[in-house]
Symmetry: C2
Subunit: 721 residues, 2 copies
């Protein structure tokens, strides 16, 4: 295949996918939107979510402008320093433009996802009144709008900038200039995920503590003034937040893999650089087919329908992957080196298998069919303290298997790369890059399943609040339960891909440093400043998690105060004679979440900058800022992977231990106990503790890990002036 047509092909597939996303959106919007009561509720959710996003984007835009100015300033001020000068004409401008484009695309992708999901929720609810299959399809297609847009936007951004900056001719410098795109995406993703995560859990915890515990009214009861804020939270946290998260994953990892491809230019030519884009584009086509293939009968488990779609997507993506390997990863004319494409394909299969393994492990630790969740339920018999201890133990323990899988995948893919390219320098690393691409091939489908979660959750809430009959509620409950599973799986997948990709991004960073300085940089922990960098990186993860968790607590206190005030000042609410002021609650959570997201966000962004520059300028150890930052990045990533896994799975396990007790399958001394029993009360405590773990700190850590990588990629030339 002529390499010139790869980029047009990728861009074409991306535009096509956006068109399909548009068609799916039209189909969703054309569906019936239910009764008047339902519309009123959905309208309130829509307004709240849009108001939050508008205000959040304003804050993020402000922060982004400051960051863009700083990047431009640093690069421009040092434009005549050799390192920067060698990166080519107008580097300051190009890096900054990439950053802004990345930030903008991320914001647009987040907006599109939410635009559809806050409209798909009511239509899913309405469809559930007639057909389960129709509801399932609407929810998944609504989610697919988000999944397809995210991946397509990321390809358009990276591919477009590569073309625009003349990458087809200047393949060596352009990838270094478009690292800004990845950083822009990470920057927006960090604040989007933090703000959304704080919002959703502050509203949830606040609504539960006053509503369920103090006032004794059920969940999603329309008398609770925070109930709309809670439903809004599902959208801004899960849709917008995770959308931005996976947008930046695909963006950062595309750029990283392209940088690694440069090292193999003598073998593959441009094909090795463009391979990640083509593999991802084929993944988009696979996703479209997979989404359209999903349907289920009334009596069927919706989860098995989704799993079938995932299988279709994976098989097609694998075929596309093989095609991309065959077409692009072949020796250019004039190279005598033997290339064994089979091993390259094997590396990709290792990646895809890793994705599967993570999904399985996550299920084992978070579903109540298995021992871990049951052990938490058992421990609830002796009260909340033992429930918490058991949950923390499960969270800490569940880091073991994923790490063994990732270790095996890294070593295996590295070995494949070496085998494929006869030990060429960089070959092993390119093997790990290919595995990462494999893991990310079905990414758009995973994201569609993820957004499926909040859509069905909202649909359930709307049915509940508008007091629909039991039979319909039963249908949305089934969809909602499936949504909880898919949300958990996505988190496992996201952290797994982050772990695998981390190595790719480190290597890209080191490659970049090498290209700039000619030095092969190691990250030698035996040097005191490098060790200190690593220590600070791991500590960043701990302190960042603390701030994220505290932010939820503080914002929740604000909600609690407001709900109590409304109950006190307007007794008609509890009597059902007057409506609570939903909008005020939404306003208050919005303001609190945006205020609280700033501290952890800035900590994450500023730590590597401060460490890098202070080692660069102040340390008596010579110019090893770049190496100390690399250690911060690598050890921080290790700590982040573990902490995120602990928080995601621990939180999920607590949640499902509660659900297990509610399910009626749990018995003490031969007697079934359920809701409102003492063990159930203990399990509710665990569930509440797990909330900020799994929906705020954990997902934010995914973004933090990748932010560290993209940030250091952008700043690398400055640390080694």
């Amino acid at each position: 295949m002529a390499v010139e047509i790869v980029l047009p092909l990728v861009l074409g597939i991306s535009v096509l996918s956006l068109a399909v996303a548009g068609l799916l959106a039209r189909q969703v919007l054309a569906a019936d939107s239910g009764t008047v009561e339902m519309r009123a509720i959905s309208e309130a959710i829509r307004e709240g979510a849009e108001a939050f996003l508008a205000r959040q984007y304003r804050t993020i835009a402000l922060l982004s402008v400051v960051a863009a100015a700083a990047i431009f300033g640093f690069y421009y001020a040092n434009r005549n320093v050799q390192n920067i000068a060698e990166m080519g004409e107008g580097t300051a401008f190009k890096v900054t433009l990439s950053f802004i484009t990345g930030a903008l695309c991320s914001a647009i992708a987040g907006y599109i996802g939410m635009f559809v999901s806050i409209r798909a929720n009511i239509r899913t609810a309405a469809a559930a009144m007639t057909s389960l299959n129709r509801a399932l399809q609407l929810a998944l297609r609504g989610g697919a709008v988000s999944g397809l847009s995210v991946v397509a936007m990321s390809l358009l951004g990276v591919g477009g900038l590569f073309y625009l900056f003349g990458g087809m001719h200047d393949y060596e410098h352009v990838p270094l200039q478009i690292v800004g795109f990845g950083f822009g995406a990470s920057f927006v993703a960090l604040f989007a995920q933090l703000g959304g995560g704080i919002y959703t859990k502050a509203a949830d915890v606040g609504a539960d503590l006053v509503g369920k515990v103090e006032a004794g009214i059920p969940e999603d009861d329309p008398r609770n003034p925070a109930v709309i804020a809670d439903l809004v939270g599902d959208n801004v946290g899960d849709c917008a937040g995770r959308g931005a998260d996976l947008f930046e994953s695909t963006a950062a990892e595309n750029v990283g893999a392209m940088i690694l491809g440069i090292a193999l230019y003598p073998v593959f030519g441009l094909g090795g650089i463009l391979f990640p884009l083509l593999a991802r584009a084929f993944g988009l086509i696979a996703t479209i087919a997979g989404v359209l293939s999903v349907k289920c009968r009334e009596d069927q488990d919706p989860m098995s329908a989704l799993n079938r779609g995932y299988l279709v997507t994976t098989l097609l993506a694998m075929a596309g992957f093989a095609a991309a390997v065959y077409l692009l990863l072949r020796p250019v004319a004039g190279t005598t080196l033997p290339v064994q494409q089979g091993y390259l394909l094997l590396a990709g299969i290792i990646g895809i298998a890793t994705a599967y393994a993570f999904v399985w492990i996550t299920q084992y630790y978070t579903e109540y069919r298995y021992r871990p969740v049951r052990s938490i339920a058992e421990a609830s018999r002796t009260g909340p303290a033992t429930n918490i201890i058991a949950g923390l133990a499960v969270g800490l323990e569940c880091t073991g298997l994923p790490v063994i899988v990732i270790s095996g995948a890294l070593m295996g893919a590295y070995w494949c790369g070496k085998m494929a390219l006869a030990d060429l320098p960089g070959a092993g690393l390119y093997g790990t890059a290919i595995a990462t691409m494999g893991m990310l091939a079905p990414c758009a489908y995973i994201l569609a399943m993820d957004t499926f979660g909040p859509i069905t959750d909202n649909a359930g809430g709307i049915i509940e609040m508008s007091k629909q009959p039991e039979a319909i509620r039963h249908k949305t409950d089934r969809l909602d339960a499936v949504g909880n599973t898919t949300k958990a799986l996505t988190k496992g997948y996201a952290i797994g891909s982050a772990a695998l990709a981390a190595f790719l991004l480190f290597s890209a960073y080191l490659d970049e440093v090498k290209k700039i300085t000619g030095l092969h940089l190691g990250v030698d922990l035996t040097r005191v400043p490098v060790f200190v960098g690593g220590l600070l990186g791991a500590t960043l993860v701990f302190v960042f998690s603390a701030l994220a968790i505290k932010a939820v607590g503080k914002a929740a206190q604000v909600v609690i105060g407001e709900v109590r005030r409304q109950f006190r000042e307007n007794p008609g609410i509890m009597a059902g004679t007057s409506k609570p002021d939903y909008a005020r609650c939404v306003d208050i959570v919005t303001a609190a979440a945006l205020r609280e997201m700033v501290a952890p966000g800035l900590l994450a962004v500023l730590t590597p900058v401060v460490v890098g520059f202070s080692f660069r300028y102040l340390s008596p150890y010579g110019q090893i800022g770049a190496e100390a930052v690399a250690a911060l990045l690598m050890v921080g990533t290790i700590a982040g992977i573990l902490m995120a896994t602990m928080m995601n799975n621990g939180g999920g396990a607590w949640d499902n231990a509660k659900k297990y007790i509610e399910s009626g399958l749990f018995s003490v001394d031969g007697q079934v106990v359920g809701k409102r029993s003492e063990p159930h009360k203990a399990a509710v405590v665990g569930d509440t503790v797990g909330d900020p773990f799994k929906d705020t700190a954990g997902p934010s850590l995914h973004v933090l890990i990748k932010l560290l990588s993209t940030l250091t990629l952008v700043l690398a030339p400055l640390f080694i002036l």
Copy 2:
């Protein structure tokens, strides 16, 4: 000073200190031992503790024999391989002998400490009936027996083996042979701390959950069948466990510093190798003076008396340190290199200052005068869930300051070393070694304060159980409160010194590898297998913590079952007409704790062994087992420092948040709330969650960190055959 007299001087001071410890023990034993009822209780505690220790030592002895055989086997089988052969005649025998000596000394030190503490408890209780000062002095002197013995035994062991193996002539190989001593100490310490930690918290949690929560009887009520087991636990966990922990710290760090001293032999001669021993010996003298200086008036805060003693110890230790620097760290004849002793002393002062900073930071995060603990108490207003969230946030956050202090200390001491020795290779590292020696100089006094904790805790329990008048109970309560503070401080100190020493031990490992292979080994995280080693090291910390926490839960379930059984089968217990079967409870906890300590212990020991050998023999990446293990060690240490800090301080903060609410200083809406209020119930949940954190997993992690170091030091020659 002629260097030949250093070793005799060190050994002499050690023997002298043991003699002083003997005198203090005699003084304690000669004191009045209270009423008949008190003696009966004390007797039961003594019997339980001794039975536990006897059975625990039997298990540990068995494991140690297996380990010793494995070490001997590995070394002997490879005795003709060049690396091992170069270590000198009889290396297999010498390393194994060192291991056995270390294990034995550690066991003896633990036994001495407990022997005195389980006898000092009742005498402290009896003394409290007449004089606070007398009680304070008895408890501290009882603790000092432990502190002095531990440090003196460690000096005797290391110094004696050095002399015995001919270190005065063969300075280059002997330190490598006595690394076995450090490993032996770590090995015993790991199981002692794990077993003791599991025992103490299983008994505590079990007694509380059935006694306080189910039966509604107060703490330390004689009707509770687990009450004696609970009091036994304080001794076996805090005395024996922490004694073994600090024994191995001093042993491992002495050996590590001596190995680093070898590199500077051309400058300092034997003086640089023997310096750590002399500095520590002077610290012993300082401790004796400090302990004897402590006294307090009836109306005085006992804590300020202890602080005064700490100040005396520190000032004398500093003077001794300066003398040791002046006498030993001077250029040998024929060296033209300028040595600036002032900078070396400065490095030592940095270490001492670090010890102070850690004590202060620990207080800030764990005392209820400050914001963090109060924030947990505030959060208890909205129930146990928010209490737990706040406590976890405090635990995660409190890692920040200590890491900044350690980073500064490492960089500062490194810089001092370089300044002192004009950038000689190894100079910076020796600077960090000197700082570690400085931090450990007052170690014996710290350990005396630590053992003070369980003695006063037990004294309070004896007074409570034998129903003494309120006024006496008030005195022992005051001492008990001080004991809680000193226990928390010791943990902060122990983790701080572990963190500082970690770098020393890494460097010793790398020095050893260099001596054996001639290769300067880096730990380059950019190599895939090395990164995987690091990832596995951090994961080990997470999974180890999970197993330790789960072990407490499982052992506590056994206690709960037994207490319930006794209440059910013998109604006379609750009526007060018949005595519960204390001994059976003690037996059951003993068996459960010993069973449960094996899994986490073996995990810790086997992981580095398996990683080292599998990379060595199986990996396709060449012979980098040593480097992968070094990464495991270093990243594992980073994760361990953070996790231990989080668990120790988080647990302490939860405990004191509960105490704050009990103190009557806490109010909700202007109204004071105390015991049995809703916030108090929530705080009790947090306290229970914190128990296995701060008394089992946290302290065991200190030992784990150092075990990884000493284990890899011992096995290094085998990973690089």
